[in-house]
């Protein structure tokens, strides 16, 4: 989760050169505006080319960038009167999962999401956005509350996975996630899910069953992290780059596979380059989809969500294979 992206070395070198020239110009008084502008042009060209052809593994690096907007940052920016609520009412309050209510374009909504930190210290306090069962149960409690008061639910996904720990197992990690999948399928209010950064495994899906699932341009979403897949399939975590490619984890892949409904574009260089702009685009996308969903009745919403997930899969009858 570095703040420097390894594949941006050339860009970083150019940036340094530009800064040097600027400093030199200031010190010496020699006018280097032309040279600087030329370099800046070149930098932009390079960046554009680079970001048009990102590999899945490079996208994974961007999705993990610590400067990516967090759930609480997005909540504060897109909601007015946002109020965070705590606790699962049974065991504790999970800092890796946050939620609360507020006005979204004048409409009361419930917002829930994984919470990562913006630096290492904060990340440790947030358990790197990896919830325990009480996190999923807090999310469920808030969703039921939203249902009772007729509020749409917005969930923001950004997790390397549900926490693989002893206590998590003792308190029923599997059951907590499973219960959420079933409850979200039957919830009578609109649910819009946005995959903001990382979407790993059941830990992501545990708040991911929505009428609409949107995904940021450089986010990834899969059954397991590329490292985990490489370790399981080829007994070699260093093959993560290959796994990222073969597992089809990018927003563009998932749109083609029919798993998500829309790719939300990011500012050039990734959401961390211009957080306010990125958040504004996220907001507009959510608004558009919520407007559509508000037209549906409670019953229609449940049917819409059921049918969305019911049809995902890749099966064929071998009897049809025989005919071809």
């Amino acid at each position: 989760m570095a703040t420097e992206l390894s594949f941006e070395k050339q860009l970083k070198a150019l940036e340094q050169k530009i800064q040097e020239l600027k400093a030199f110009m200031k010190e010496s008084g020699i006018d280097l505006t032309q040279e600087i502008t030329a370099l800046e042009e070149k930098q932009k060209e390079l960046r554009t080319a680079l970001y048009e052809n990102l590999s899945p593994w490079q996208k994974v690096q961007i999705a993990r960038h610590m400067g990516r907007p967090t759930t609480l940052e997005i909540a504060e920016a897109i909601l007015t009167d946002f109020m965070e609520f705590h606790g699962d009412r049974v065991y504790g309050d999970d800092p890796a999962m946050v939620g609360g209510i507020g006005f979204f374009e004048g409409m009361p909504v419930t917002l829930i999401g994984h919470q990562k930190g913006r630096d290492t210290k904060e990340n440790i306090a947030r358990n790197f956005g990896m919830p325990h069962p009480e996190g999923y149960r807090k999310a469920l409690r808030l969703m039921r509350q939203a249902e009772k008061f007729g509020r749409p639910v917005i969930t923001l996904v950004n997790t390397p996975g549900a926490y693989p720990g002893k206590a998590a197992e003792e308190r029923g990690q599997s059951m907590a996630i499973a219960e959420n999948l079933k409850a979200m399928a039957a919830l009578t209010v609109p649910i819009v899910v946005v995959i903001v950064g990382e979407g790993a495994s059941g830990g992501a899906l545990g708040i991911g069953v929505g009428n609409r699932v949107l995904m940021l341009e450089h986010a990834w979403y899969s059954v397991i992290s590329p490292e985990g897949a490489a370790a399981l399939l080829w007994k070699d975590a260093s093959l993560a780059e290959k796994a990222a490619r073969e597992m089809r984890i990018t927003a563009q892949d998932l749109l083609a596979l029919g798993v998500i409904d829309e790719v939300i574009p990011e500012p050039l260089g990734g959401a961390h380059q211009d957080k306010p702009a990125a958040i504004q685009t996220i907001k507009e996308a959510i608004f558009r989809h919520l407007q559509d969903l508000m037209k549906l009745s409670a019953e229609e919403l449940v049917i819409d969500r059921y049918e969305k997930f019911r049809r995902i899969g890749a099966v064929v009858s071998f009897l049809e294979l025989d005919q071809s």
Binding site: K182, A183, A186, L205, G206, M247, R248, G313, S317, L319
Partner: protein
């Protein structure tokens, strides 16, 4: 050998005569023991090391007579030994994966596994009766790519749930799975949502779902339908959990208790209704279903069932 050849040349040919449109295939499968007991006369108990006659082991429901260790059981055997007379109607035996990601070596692996195991996927679904009560049943088979759930497993289980809902039959799922199938990526993950959504509908209709977790039930299967039963049972010693033991040990850097994530461990932590041994399974299931034939004081709701 491709699927086409497999199904036309192998002894499974009888399946291929079924109509493609039928989601409720009508093959009546009562397989003989010789189909399911592998070659060799003896088997060593993995727990106590006792050398056992395979025939006796089969007669003892694949439970070690010395120590009670529950050997893994194939899905056809489970169907045969759980349902009355060993008779059942199998659903959707014609469904196979399309290898949606064109994942390296997956197609070959599927074909090889089909040949070795004699099943088309990691779950067998169908219906029969227990103690005279009709039931819809799904049984996973850990021999098929670790019983992992990809699109076909998810689809067959969802259809089984829908059949149970339409017919108002109790639903029983025996799970045995390492989790989601890696080779189908995100589509495997989505099967968790699909099966759970089908169960939400089944629940709304008042249906009875009994989940029996057998060794192993982990990852995406434990974190979806396996944990959503009205009643949660497990076989003795079955490994049940979300994350793998090694990953947890690496993460928390401490040794885990020996019985960590066993059925008994889960029972102690309040996550199971009962641990049920294989010998009492049929009786427990029969008794439980019989109790659900009456709806107690809320008799007016009985019509919904």
């Amino acid at each position: 050998m491709n699927w086409r050849e497999f199904f036309t040349k192998s002894k499974k040919r009888q399946y291929a005569t079924l109509p493609a449109s039928s989601s409720l295939s009508t093959h009546k499968a009562a397989r003989s023991e010789s189909d399911t007991v592998p070659d060799g006369l003896m088997e060593k108990c993995k727990k106590c090391g006792a050398i056992l006659y395979k025939k006796e082991l089969a007669q003892n429901l694949y439970v070690c007579p010395k120590c009670g260790y529950h050997f893994p059981m194939s899905a056809p055997e489970r169907f045969r030994l759980t349902l009355d007379g060993g008779v059942y109607f199998e659903y959707d035996m014609d469904l196979v994966s399309t290898d949606p990601l064109s994942f390296p070596t997956y197609r070959e692996k599927l074909e090889q596994t089909m040949e070795n195991v004699g099943m088309t996927e990691a779950v067998l679904t169908g219906e029969g009766t227990i103690k005279g009560y009709p039931v819809v049943m799904a049984v996973m088979d850990s021999r098929f790519i670790m019983g992992s759930m990809g699109s076909v497993v998810g689809e067959k289980i969802a259809r089984a749930i829908e059949n149970a809902r339409i017919k108002h039959y109790p639903l029983i799922i025996f799970s045995a799975s390492g989790g989601a199938r890696m080779q189908e990526g995100i589509l495997s993950l989505m099967q968790m949502a699909k099966t759970s959504a089908a169960l939400a509908r089944f629940e709304a209709s008042g249906g009875l779902f009994i989940s029996v977790m057998t060794h192993p039930t982990t990852g995406g299967v434990s974190a979806s339908f396996a944990m959503l039963g009205d009643y949660l049972f497990a076989e003795p010693g079955a490994l049940i959990g979300f994350a793998g033991r090694r990953i947890i040990e690496q993460t928390i850097r401490e040794a885990l208790p020996e019985d960590f994530q066993t059925a008994e461990f889960l029972l102690r932590h309040g996550q199971l209704d009962r641990v049920v041994s294989r010998k009492e399974m049929r009786d427990v299931l029969g008794r439980l279903i019989s109790i659900h034939q009456q709806r107690g004081w809320a008799h007016g709701d009985g019509a919904k069932l």
